[in-house]
């Protein structure tokens, strides 16, 4: 087992969940409740990472993060080091690649709340902020948990984007899924098998957890 790679993977998962999920929640709520011109276009753009090959996302992000592009230059002038082939760059790429997973389950959950229930909250004297905490969030909770687990699990398994943007630097950008590829290339099948089994077990547990949790919450809400 490559503990360094596992550590990079877990850190990447942690930061991606921490940053992508609140962003996804805000965007999901906006897309679920607001009707504005160009909403479909925004929705389609945010869903693009679902259908694009990861190497294509990775390629464009690499181009954006580089010294020749404005975002890359801005980051370097602010922090003093480049964005491409660093852990920070990896987190930024991971957030972008995972945004559909952070949005879609939450958006579906918000959309499933009947309009009259939200209106009843307002007519019961709740401010939009109170209604969000007391009505929207508890009712959308299964969707939010699904998004959290999906984003974390998907980050652990991401390969193409990570390789393109982060390269393969042990201790900085080499994640577990890349370490597996690395081991196979080096004919170290035993180590690759170990790590693959770990990811397999983790993914299985994640899906089982989502199913159990959403069933339990579904029962509670009836």
């Amino acid at each position: 087992m490559d503990w360094t790679a596992l550590n990079v993977s877990l850190q990447l998962g942690f930061w991606t969940v921490l940053l992508a999920c609140p962003l996804g929640l805000a965007l999901a709520r906006l897309l679920a409740y607001r009707r504005f011109p160009g909403r479909r276009i925004v929705e389609a753009t945010l869903a693009m990472p679902l259908v694009l090959p990861p190497t294509v996302i990775g390629y464009y992000l690499l181009a954006t993060f580089g010294r020749d592009a404005a975002p890359g230059r801005l980051w370097e002038s602010l922090t003093g080091h480049p964005l491409a082939f660093t852990f920070e760059g990896l987190v930024a790429a991971s957030i972008i690649a995972n945004i559909p997973f952070a949005i879609q389950p939450v958006q579906r959950a918000f959309e499933a709340i009947p309009r009259e229930v939200r209106e009843a909250a307002a007519c019961s004297g709740m401010t939009p902020w109170t209604a969000f905490w007391r009505i929207d969030l508890p009712l959308a909770w299964p969707g939010i948990v699904t998004a959290l687990v999906f984003v974390f699990a998907h980050t652990l398994g991401e390969f193409g984007v990570v390789l393109m943007v982060g390269g393969n630097i042990p201790g900085a950008t080499q994640t577990l899924s890349i370490a597996i590829y690395d081991r196979v290339q080096a004919f170290d099948d035993a180590a690759a098998g170990q790590m693959a089994l770990f990811l397999l077990a983790f993914s299985f547990l994640a899906i089982a957890a989502i199913l159990t949790l959403s069933e339990r919450i579904g029962r509670r809400h009836g």
Partner: protein, 383 residues
């Protein structure tokens, strides 16, 4: 605190009524002015899609009419001229939705407690108050149930208790009885009638049922395509519709055209020409609106037409006698709806007779009979 203070001040004062005026062309046309006094129940009646629910939602602040002014309990909630539009949570309204819209993740008690005004201090105080409100709608013992564990009627009661929990300045009821069975509806309706005796706030009820509106409403407002066609006591709107359109919407079928021959005065009837007949119409002051020679519409309720008994003629037969041929006989419960073909009139004239009268006079299709149109039951409307 300011809100509560102004509301209390308004309560003490006289201006606890609702005064609303709203107008828009899109997306749902509205053009209506409403007044509902404190303690009064005003029923908005109309077919589905007439805009009556939108009117209620506009008062609650859930939709914003393009133009209008809504004032209630001494406060202005909407004034498009001055750019005032209070959001729903700042308008003290209690609303019961057609779907009840209870919070599915909360118990009945929590649903009610969630709407208590911020002044209610402490958890035990809030729970005590919510329990009291649930008892008021006869739900003792069901406090811990979630909405999914309650029947439709029980859910409606929780919704009503939640609406009252806010100590609203107005109660808005959007088709609250449409999703329950007949027996439950009757019970909930009589409970509302007894509950409202203690409520000194305006109550607005939206319903598509004229019967329900007449049963529960002090006044009703007939809404059609977002317009208030006629407002008044239920008996007046139904018995004395202002136009033929209102007459049709409240279910009148004996609607005919005629011409005024002469306008009556006290003790002298107005004379109406119709299909070769000269009908006497008991004079009313509003007949002055129809000058002699004017073409008008008139109606007569089917239960205000008398059959000339074949076996035992009587003196009443002199009152507006009309000869006609029976077109159809249709039994509706203990009554028979008899439609008549009158020479010179394209539309049938209907009357309701008890089944035993039809039998005793052995009425059959194509028989010629005589009827009297009661002079006091004929109602005139502009053409």
């Amino acid at each position: 605190m300011d809100d509560i203070a102004t509301r209390a001040a308004a309560r003490i004062g006289e201006d606890t009524a609702l005064n609303a005026r709203m107008r828009q062309a899109q997306p749902i046309p509205l053009n209506i002015t409403l007044h509902c006094a404190a303690g009064e129940l005003l029923a908005l009646v109309g077919p589905s899609g007439s805009g009556k629910s939108t009117i209620l939602r506009a008062i609650a602040g859930l939709v914003r009419p393009h133009e209008g002014r809504i004032a209630c309990a001494g406060a202005v909630w909407l004034d498009t001229d001055r750019g005032v539009h209070l959001p729903p949570h700042r308008r003290p309204v209690g609303i019961v939705f057609q779907s009840y819209a209870l919070f599915p993740h909360m118990t009945a008690l929590e649903n009610v407690a969630s709407a208590l005004p911020p002044g209610t201090e402490g958890r035990s105080e809030r729970m005590h108050e919510a329990t009291r409100l649930l008892a008021r709608v006869h739900l003792e013992g069901l406090e811990a149930r979630r909405p999914s564990e309650l029947s439709g009627g029980q859910q409606q009661r929780v919704a009503l208790a939640r609406a009252l929990a806010r100590r609203p300045a107005i109660l808005l009821l959007d088709e609250p009885f449409s999703a329950v069975d007949e027996a439950t509806r009757k019970r909930l309706q009589s409970e509302l009638l007894s509950l409202r005796r203690d409520l000194s706030i305006p109550i607005l009820l939206v319903t598509h049922s004229l019967e329900e509106a007449s049963l529960l409403g002090d006044r009703l407002c007939l809404v059609h395509r977002g317009r208030g066609l006629q407002t008044g006591a239920p008996a007046d709107v139904i018995g004395r519709p202002r136009t033929a359109q209102v007459a049709r919407l409240v279910g009148h079928t004996n609607l005919f055209e005629g011409q005024i021959e002469s306008v009556g005065a006290a003790g002298r009837p107005t004379i109406l020409r119709w299909a070769g007949h000269r009908l006497e119409v008991a004079h009313r002051p509003d007949h002055a609106a129809h000058p002699p020679g004017a073409r008008i519409r008139w109606l007569i309720p089917p239960d205000r037409i008398l059959l000339h008994q074949r076996v035992r003629p009587s003196r009443g037969e002199k009152e507006n006698p009309v000869e006609a041929e029976i077109e159809s006989l249709l039994a509706i419960g203990a009554l028979v709806r008899v439609t008549l073909r009158v020479a010179g009139e394209a539309n049938p004239l209907a009357l309701h007779l008890p089944a035993h009268v039809v039998e005793r006079n052995s009425l059959r299709v194509a028989d010629r009979i005589g009827v009297s149109l009661l002079a006091r039951a004929i109602h005139l409307m502009p053409a």
